[in-house]
């Protein structure tokens, strides 16, 4: 007579056997990989590799575009300077100026359009209409003049290049490529609306430096021995007041407006940038691995 325990054990053994069979077959399925012995054992995956980075400086003029902007897009003009200790590790910095090109979004245009219409109806100070009184703290005469902006960024960063390869385009153009990851601290020069306790009609701006982590990844496409085109994605998260609005500081958990502009009105933004670079490598000649 078979007891419940024995049944359970039998089932368990059957399941284990099935699992073992499954794993055993999967193991065999992958064993088509050729295991090398002899002089090739332990040899590098790639021989005669063109070492585009090792021992070379990289000067890369860069243009960066912000993504998912609420009120204005910023195009940052800058450059990256790296020294590549090895083909897979570099140290350098990225710097850019963001105060030159700023493009308002559709939302900014809409807000300013409504704001201008309200001020045409009620041009006086202090305001008398309901809309103007309710937005007195938040909307100045020119909305885009109160928007927060990135003036400049300097980011010392470490770059790791774990992936190195080549690319065939239309089976006729061949490029060496690499995929790299980078990270470091960023010093961001910001322009923001100045804090104020009595804010009606006060829309002065102030500058500050935010320190934030920055990180991302990028591709490099080597055109010739001394130059390449790069494309990279960068995250630059920090808190700032992008609209110059009073959105927090009062009520429960300081999550409601308090008619003041304070540090509480800064909101966490995961700022994102896409960057295109033209990289120049010095010295012009690269080395070749064994």
């Amino acid at each position: 007579m078979i007891t419940t325990n024995q049944k359970t054990i039998k089932r368990l053994v059957t399941v284990l056997a099935a699992a073992l069979a499954l794993f055993a077959f999967t193991e065999q399925a992958q064993a088509q990989q050729i295991l090398l012995t002899g002089p090739l054992a332990g040899a590098p995956a790639v021989r005669k590799l063109r070492l585009h980075r090792q021992g070379r400086f990289e000067i890369a003029p860069a243009i960066s575009f912000t993504l998912l902007d609420e009120y204005q897009r910023t195009i940052l003009l800058g450059a990256r300077l790296n020294y590549n200790f090895t083909d897979w590790l570099a140290f350098g910095a990225w710097g850019a100026l963001g105060s030159v090109i700023r493009i308002p979004t559709y939302l900014t245009d809409q807000v300013q359009s409504v704001n201008a219409a309200r001020r045409t109806t009620d041009p006086g100070e202090p305001p008398t209409t309901l809309d103007r009184r309710l937005t007195d703290v938040n909307l100045g005469p020119q909305f885009k003049n109160q928007l927060g902006g990135i003036d400049w960024v300097v980011a010392p960063q470490l770059t790791a290049v774990p992936f190195r390869g080549k690319l065939a385009l239309f089976q006729s153009i061949y490029l060496d490529t690499d995929l790299y990851f980078f990270g470091g601290p960023a010093f961001v020069g910001l322009k923001e609306r100045k804090n104020c306790d009595v804010c009606g009609g006060s829309f002065d701006m102030t500058s500050r430096v935010a320190i934030a982590p920055t990180f991302g990844l990028g591709f490099t496409f080597y055109i010739n021995k001394w130059s390449a085109i790069g494309a990279e994605y960068r995250g630059l998260p920090f808190s700032w007041n992008t609209g110059g609005f009073d959105t927090a500081g009062g009520g429960k958990d300081k999550k409601f407006p308090d008619n003041k502009i304070t540090n509480d009105d800064r909101q966490f933004n995961f700022n994102q940038l896409l960057t295109v670079t033209y990289n120049i490598y010095l010295p012009f000649q690269y080395r070749v691995s064994e």
Binding site: K7, K10, T14, V15, A18, A19, A21, L22, A24, F25, T26, Q28, A29, Q30, A31, Q32, Q33, I34, L35, L36, T37, G38, P39, L40, P44, A45, V46, L49, L67, L68, E70, W88, T105, L107, Q110, V111, V114, N115, L134, T135, N138, L139, F143, P162, F163, R164, G165, K166, L167, A168, F170, Q171, Y174, T177, L179, G243, F245, D246, T247, P257
Partner: protein, 332 residues
């Protein structure tokens, strides 16, 4: 207990199929297995063939390197060949080849030589099933994350026809930022949520490459462009007059264009990264509310401007190619 053997069989069957998928050129695999047999490195011809790079050349030739076996031996091939031709001519003079070698040499060669031979993963005549997850990249007001599925069939190695579908309905996110702007500036911007999208697409794969990871292992990837036409079902989120307005989803004609990267882990499984722009003509909520209550409740007054909308999505997914295995047409 009766079901246990069936479960065991299913498990074994599941195990066997991936094993076949690794058929990296059957001739080559067979050759390797034979070589393994000779060298006693894998006595029972297990798929895990061990190549002894120290082995003599003769062993390699006998080992069944398909390409080597097909190549005439330069050292003795001519003599042997000449002897063979003489024999044929003696037996049957009519069958004796009578070629003008100068004329033959002057003939233009039209042989097509591919720069990349025996690419790691062939796509031609294979289906690609691609589940993926997408997030919107350019809508700061409403997030449109969605689970999605694409199915492609590769007519050639670089061209595929397929369909894809996105299911946005349960995942639209009206961001807190919208409420803050409405409260701070007393300005509302029209918002749109999506229900589903579907398209017929063509995919072209112009770029193919490989990466050495940490100088140790090699993986392959390709880059593709995709474009198509389909529909997307959308509706405005009522923010101007939510008391009266209740919009229904309506499908709109949508075009799409995108670029993607596919990283192969083996010959039938890959990870995909894609950016796709779905372009459609969106009907926005009317920013003005009719002053008379009866008019405000009239659906005809709810819609405002039309806007050409670009819904740019980042898509991350996995690709499964069927059938799992394939044969190369030509030897390497």
């Amino acid at each position: 207990m009766k079901s246990s053997p069936i479960g065991l069989l299913v498990a074994v069957a599941l195990g066997i199929f991936p094993a076949q998928s690794w058929a990296a050129g059957k001739a080559q695999a067979a050759g390797k297995a034979a070589k393994a047999k000779d060298s006693k490195a894998a006595a029972d011809a297990a798929p895990a063939a061990t190549v002894d790079a120290d082995a003599p050349a003769g062993d390699a030739a006998a080992g069944g390197d398909a390409a080597a076996a097909d190549t005439p031996d330069d050292s003795g091939g001519d003599a042997a060949g000449g002897s063979g031709l003489d024999d044929i001519c003696k037996i049957d003079p009519a069958a004796c080849p009578n070629l003008d070698m100068d004329k033959e040499a002057a003939r233009p060669l039209k042989e097509q030589i591919f720069a990349v031979q025996q690419a790691f993963a062939l796509r031609v005549r294979r289906f690609e099933i691609e589940p993926y997850w997408s997030v919107s990249m350019n809508d700061q007001f409403v997030g449109h994350p969605a689970p999605d599925l694409a199915l492609n069939y590769y007519i050639t190695n670089v061209l595929a026809i397929g369909v894809n579908g996105n299911y946005y309905a349960p995942c639209n996110v009206d961001k807190a930022f919208n409420g803050q702007v409405r409260r701070a500036a007393r300005v509302a911007v029209p918002l749109t949520e999506y229900q589903w999208g579907g398209a017929l697409n063509f995919t072209y794969v112009p770029a193919y490459g490989k990466f050495a990871g940490f100088g140790d292992f090699i993986f392959h990837y390709d880059a593709y462009v995709v474009g198509g036409v389909g529909a997307i079902s959308v509706r405005p989120i009522p923010v101007i007059d939510p008391n009266n307005r209740n919009f229904a989803f309506e499908p709109k004609l949508a075009f799409n264009v995108g670029i993607g990267l596919r990283i192969f882990f083996n010959r039938w499984f890959a990870a995909t990264l894609e950016v796709r722009d779905y372009i459609f003509n969106d009907k926005l909520e009317n920013l003005k509310v009719a002053p008379v209550a009866a008019d405000a409740a009239n659906k005809a007054t709810w819609y405002g401007d039309n806007s050409l909308t670009n819904n740019v999505q980042a898509q991350v997914g996995a690709s499964f190619f069927l059938p799992f295995s394939f044969d190369y047409r030509l030897p390497k």
